[in-house]
Amino acid sequence: MSLYIFYFLAFVAVLSALMVVFSRNPVYSVLYLVITFFSVGGHYLLLSAEFLFAVHIIVYAGAIMVLFLYVIMLMNLNNESEAPKKTPYQFAAVISGGLLMMVLVGAVRGAEQAQVGLGADPTIGTVKTLGNMLFNEFLLPFEVVSVLLLAAMVGAVMLGKNPLRARRYTPKTTTRTGADDQEKDVTIENVKQLTNE
């Protein structure tokens, strides 16, 4: 039974991961990435890691996805404006990805017989076990991670801040309109023209 669940979740994960790569529109990529995250979360649940399942859904499908969608909408990237790479580069990318897969397959096939010792303990994924571990053995990494998150927050705020002295806020709008890039006064007709596209 759980083998079939595993196959189903693996199929969904791999398929939607491929769609993340090959769909033209970045918004669709984000949505397929959400599906991939949920199926990976299903794998966590299958492996009886309930706490990690909850954290995974909250962090990835909640926070990171919202961040991606915000950025895409902020930059108005939801059109298919990306010119694809040239075909030789695409071939090279696919071939090198396939070679990496071959290397991984060759590495894993040798170890096929070597199973780890099955000390399967179903209580390791619970909040109690992980909390005990996190605040006893891994207390220092936990605190370091909090410092890392603080530094990341400060960095993001600093990068996103408007430089007040040299304000070079001149979006070129090369990809979107392209037609009338001359310096015009923004009148109502102009705005209508620009937004109609």
Partner: protein
């Protein structure tokens, strides 16, 4: 509950998880090489991190050791920090160049 978990571990071998993680990781690498949009490249990096996380959770469950799951927790924190800073950098790049195409950023190329 206990029976179901040990039954599940008996039914799904560890190799399946290794194959699945390898496939997800390779798809992430392929996306990084294939696409030109920097946001999609970020998503593919997330895919790679997820593949590693999945493998670590699988090893932890099969080995009966919770340290792997704690490490997955740390990897998630690092991924969140990376995405926040990376997307902020991406917005600054977009304000300066007007696109998120990585071929615009060729000043460091030799």
């Amino acid at each position: 509950m206990n029976d179901s978990v040990s039954q599940m571990i008996q039914q799904v071998p560890l190799n399946h998880y290794i194959w699945l993680s390898a496939a997800l990781f390779v798809i992430g690498v392929l996306g990084v090489l294939y696409r030109r949009n920097a946001i999609v490249i970020f998503m593919c990096i997330e895919l790679m991190l997820n593949a590693v996380n999945l493998l670590m959770v699988a090893f932890a469950a099969f080995h009966g050791n919770a340290a792997g799951q704690v490490f997955v927790f740390f990897v998630m924190a690092v991924a969140a920090a990376e995405v926040a800073v990376g997307l902020a950098i991406l917005i600054v790049i977009y304000h300066n160049t007007g696109s998120t195409d990585i071929n615009v950023l060729n000043k460091l190329k030799w």
